[in-house]
């Protein structure tokens, strides 16, 4: 397993009372994404625990794209991954944001 962390800055803070959201399942070729508000001084922090080692650059590329689409701040994203493809990761991240922002405050 490998643990990766990334931080992004320059996003718009989300309402701190928003309920956390979870999408996906920790199963082969899949991942779960937990997204929740957090006091991070304007950062969007991503923490990944992945069964597949050595894909740090790929994760960074997928997350760069994600942050371009969703400029979030004061948000923590936690991921448990079992070798999902970049396309599946991007899909789950988008679903997580949709659930998170679409759900009740």
């Amino acid at each position: 397993m490998e643990k990766l962390t990334f931080e992004f800055f320059g996003g718009a803070p989300v309402n701190a009372t928003r309920a956390p959201a979870l999408v996906g399942v920790v199963g082969s070729g899949n991942l779960e994404v937990l997204i929740e508000p957090a006091e991070l001084g304007g950062a969007c922090a991503v923490e990944i625990l992945t069964a597949a080692r050595g894909f740090g650059a790929t994760w960074k590329a997928v997350l760069d794209d994600f942050f371009t689409r969703h400029k979030l701040a004061d948000v923590r994203i936690a991921i448990n991954d079992v070798g999902a493809t970049p396309a599946v990761v991007a899909l789950r991240l988008d679903q997580a944001v949709e659930d998170f922002l679409g759900g009740g405050a």
Partner: protein, 291 residues
């Protein structure tokens, strides 16, 4: 139609209970994960593969749990088991209309085998203690991974079971039997054989499943509502009657080799046609023939 089989545990919970009524205890943001998996370099899940909480069903308060088969086959580890036990004990305090268990599990999680086995034993005791206090426990079984191992025993400890044809219920899974005893004992790749041996239709015909429904979350919901008023009965009379039924089953069917033989012995005409029937047609075809 919304497939129960294809849905995740979370999707099932949100679609099955009254809209917006589900509230989770120890949600993923609490990160109550299995420390044992991480020790073995295996990814953990934030809910440890089981979601527990409260909801209303047709306006009535219920406590609910849903196992996620996609995570380690829904297998029971220390945290997973403790969440189920805590929910069942909470029901002893709160006395909801019922507890609903959306089971999907291969049984004990081998990465934490001892903790899982003991956890299943505690779930068994907790179900029995709860039923002894008059709160019914209803099982829904229609997920991709079925309900096997210790959870198969747990399911049969409960008041009622709702299954789809796709649901499976047993103790040792077909793969386990094939691996241990050989393919001639149980060919786990013979899907027709697997489904007629451990699938919903056979369980319904034996009288183990109380309802058989189409693979549709709303059908599971309707069946669960119907079973909310089940009254737990662990009296000597009830268990003596169960004992007689189980004894008769061994006597009548104990020498038969295949589900088709059992269905035939039950008086079903053309038993070979049963696997082809949709839930409604199936129920009609076996009306009055169940053991």
């Amino acid at each position: 139609m919304s497939s129960y089989y294809e849905a995740s545990a979370r999707e099932r919970l949100h679609a099955l209970f009254d809209r917006g009524s589900f509230h989770e205890f120890l949600p993923p943001s609490e990160r109550v994960v299995s420390p044992h998996l991480v020790q073995l370099d295996t990814p953990a899940a934030f809910d440890d593969g089981v979601i527990v909480g409260r909801a209303t069903l047709d306006g009535r308060p219920v406590l609910v749990a849903a196992q996620e088969g996609g995570f380690m086959g829904g297998a029971v580890g220390e945290v997973h088991g403790a969440k189920l036990v805590g929910l069942l004990e909470r029901a002893r305090d709160e006395k909801p209309a019922a507890v609903l268990l959306l089971v999907e599990s291969g049984g004990v999680r081998l990465h934490e085998a001892n903790a899982g086995l003991i956890g299943v034993s505690e779930i068994m005791r907790a179900v029995l203690a709860l039923r002894s206090e008059g709160v019914p426990v209803v099982v829904l079984d229609g997920g991709q991974f079925g309900c096997f191992g210790g959870m198969g025993i747990v399911a049969r400890l409960c008041d009622a079971i709702v299954m789809s044809e796709e649901g499976r219920l047993g103790l040792s899974g077909p793969e386990v039997i094939e691996t241990t005893c050989g393919v001639e004992e149980f060919d786990s790749r013979d899907r027709a054989l697997v489904w007629r041996t451990v699938g919903g239709k056979h369980r319904y015909l034996l009288g183990e499943a109380d309802a058989i429904v189409a693979d549709d979350i709303s059908a599971f919901r309707a069946a669960a509502i119907h079973l909310l008023d089940t009254k737990p009965d662990l009296s000597l009379e009830a268990l003596t009657a169960e004992h007689e039924r189980l004894g008769a089953r061994i006597e009548k069917f104990g020498a038969l080799r295949d589900a088709l033989d059992i269905w035939s012995a039950l008086g079903v005409e053309k038993p070979e046609n049963l696997p082809l029937l949709e839930a409604d047609a199936f129920r009609a075809a076996v009306d009055g023939k169940r053991a």
